[in-house]
Amino acid sequence: MDQEKKRELGRKAAEIRLDIVEEVFSASSGHPGGSLSIADILSYLYFSEMRVDPKNPEWEDRDRFVLSKGHTAPALYAVLAEKGFFPKEDLKGFRSIDSYLQGHPDKKHTPGCDMSSGSLGQGISAACGMALAGKIRKKDYRVYAILGDGECEEGQVWEAAMFAAHYQLDNLCALVDWNGLQIDGRIKEVIDPTPLDEKFRAFGWHVISIDGHDYDAIEAAYKEARAFKGKPTMIIATTTKGKGVSYMENQVGWHGKAPNAEQYAQAVTELTAQRDAL
């Protein structure tokens, strides 16, 4: 990837991170850690990979995106607003009673949100259904999903994995955000789902492991997935939970907690500096 594109995607990701922090701070609740960890991936998906049109969110031939780890809705809303699906100022309403931006994604009321999600393990199944529908209708759209690493403890993820491989859904590309932390602690200490790459491979998927903050790697992985025929692709992306906000990085406690005013100010300072450095 050329340097200018990388800088542009990086700036978008920094904006997304600033909006995530803004949303969670405004709501005094929400899930910053796993939102910040996927900002680079979402920046790449929405500004380089996916065929979407903010002016026509229900476009039949659009690529679909399902945030299976629905609790990281702040990241989804931030990228949708950045892309122009709805005004950025609406992000301040996140989780409030007079806003359409629900605590977890609500497809009925959020432009650009292709599937309601939040109950873990279900989004990946819905993504399979969209991919299957694309095959039946002979559409060339692709379907993308992001799962949490802890989410892979849900049995339904593996039901979906079997289904996608059986029906050869090569128009489906899912990604596991491997940040290594879940609510109760380090994932390997809570209940260890590893090795995820070997498991998905055994379930019949094409598997690619990458650094989820490296745009060259992200681009290469999504290009490889697009070219790979006959199997769905799973990208295992190693990321840093809380990425970009120093005191949140790799801290279990920032899974589902809002910063106070002082912490918020520090996060904004750090993320603004990161953006402006690009």
Binding site: Q122, S125, L132, E159
Partner: protein, 314 residues
């Protein structure tokens, strides 16, 4: 009366027939030979997808397909559709209001020999709690087919409840079906028997028993349990002053629950509920099971007499 046909047979036949008319797809969870979706599979193999024994995934796959504009049916036994996959139906289909039709077979005690683990007595109660869910519980083969077509034409989630056991055909093709509308099958002034599913036949038989004792019972068929036909319900309450509900389901939260809730707020006449009392089923042949759990014409008649005795009017 024509030969007996299980409503699940009629469901499978309806899918196979209507598949030529409507662009539907069908999912099953390794029970196609029992739910009878195999009939659709035989005619439209490209539009049939077995999900294996994974009901939660199946429901959400269908939700995704519906989000992409398709009209999917998902089929399994009521226990594993409404029961096991309740949360997937609630969050995956109900909350986003997706156009998925849930064809649940083997509902109720008439599963028979398989016993309590497979006899779903709770599905109506579970599905009633989901906003926007339409619940249809056909009484015979004719109503089943009409319900399937109505479900296809309805925009939004529909739960269709079918039985395993062969039951008499009560209606002919001229039977006029509409979602949300009760159907008066026989008139009467002293009490109304509101029945659904296999209990419609029992209610009609109960009416004959009551006539012998000088009680004139109205019989209405509520195939649609949600949205409830409140207008007809209120008219029955006002005109006959007493209600007996009859369903092959727990007495908690099903048709009896829905009727009681509605009348307690509008016209609180006596409502007595026939159904499985708060207990699990057991293995056995269907007729003795119906007898054991009080799902018979005689039991409905007994409750009707008790309801008449409680009448005060409103």
């Amino acid at each position: 009366m024509a030969d007996k046909i299980a409503t699940r047979e009629a469901y499978g036949a309806a899918l196979a027939e209507l598949g030529a008319k409507y662009d539907i797809i069908v999912f099953d969870a390794d029970l196609a030979c029992a739910t009878k979706t195999e009939k659709f599979k035989a005619k439209f193999p490209d539009r049939f997808f077995d999900c294996g024994i994974a009901e939660g995934n199946m429901v959400c796959v269908a939700a995704g397909a519906a989000a992409a504009g398709m009209i999917p049916f998902v089929s399994s036994f009521a226990m594993f559709a409404a029961g096991r996959a309740y949360e997937q139906i609630r969050n995956g289909i109900g909350y986003p209001g997706l156009n998925v039709k849930i064809g649940a077979t083997h509902a109720g005690i008439t599963v028979g020999e398989d016993g309590a683990t497979h006899q779903c007595l709770e599905d109506i109660a579970l599905m009633r709690t989901i906003p926007g869910m339409v619940i249809l519980n056909p009484a015979d083969a004719v109503e089943s087919k009409k319900a399937v077509e109505a479900a296809i034409l309805h925009q939004g989630p529909v739960y269709l409840r079918f039985g395993r056991a062969a039951v008499p055909v009560l209606f002919d093709d001229s039977y006029d079906f509409a979602i949300g509308r009760g159907v008066k099958l026989a008139d009467g002034n002293d009490v109304t028997l509101i029945a659904t599913g296999v209990m419609v036949e029992q209610a009609l038989a109960a009416r004959e028993l009551l006539l012998n004792e000088g009680i004139s019972a109205r019989v209405v068929n509520f195939c649609t349990i949600k949205p409830l036909d409140r207008e007809m319900l209120l008219a029955c309450a006002k005109e006959t002053g007493a209600i007996v509900t009859a369903e092959e389901h727990t007495v908690i939260g099903g048709l009896g629950g829905a009727v009681s809730e509605a009348l307690s707020e509008t016209c609180p006449v006596p409502v007595l509920r026939v159904g499985v009392e708060d207990q699990f089923g057991r293995s056995g042949k269907v007729p003795p099971l119906m007898e054991l759990y009080g799902l018979t014409a005689a039991h409905i008649a007994k409750k009707a007499k008790a309801a008449v005795a409680l009448k005060k009017g409103c």
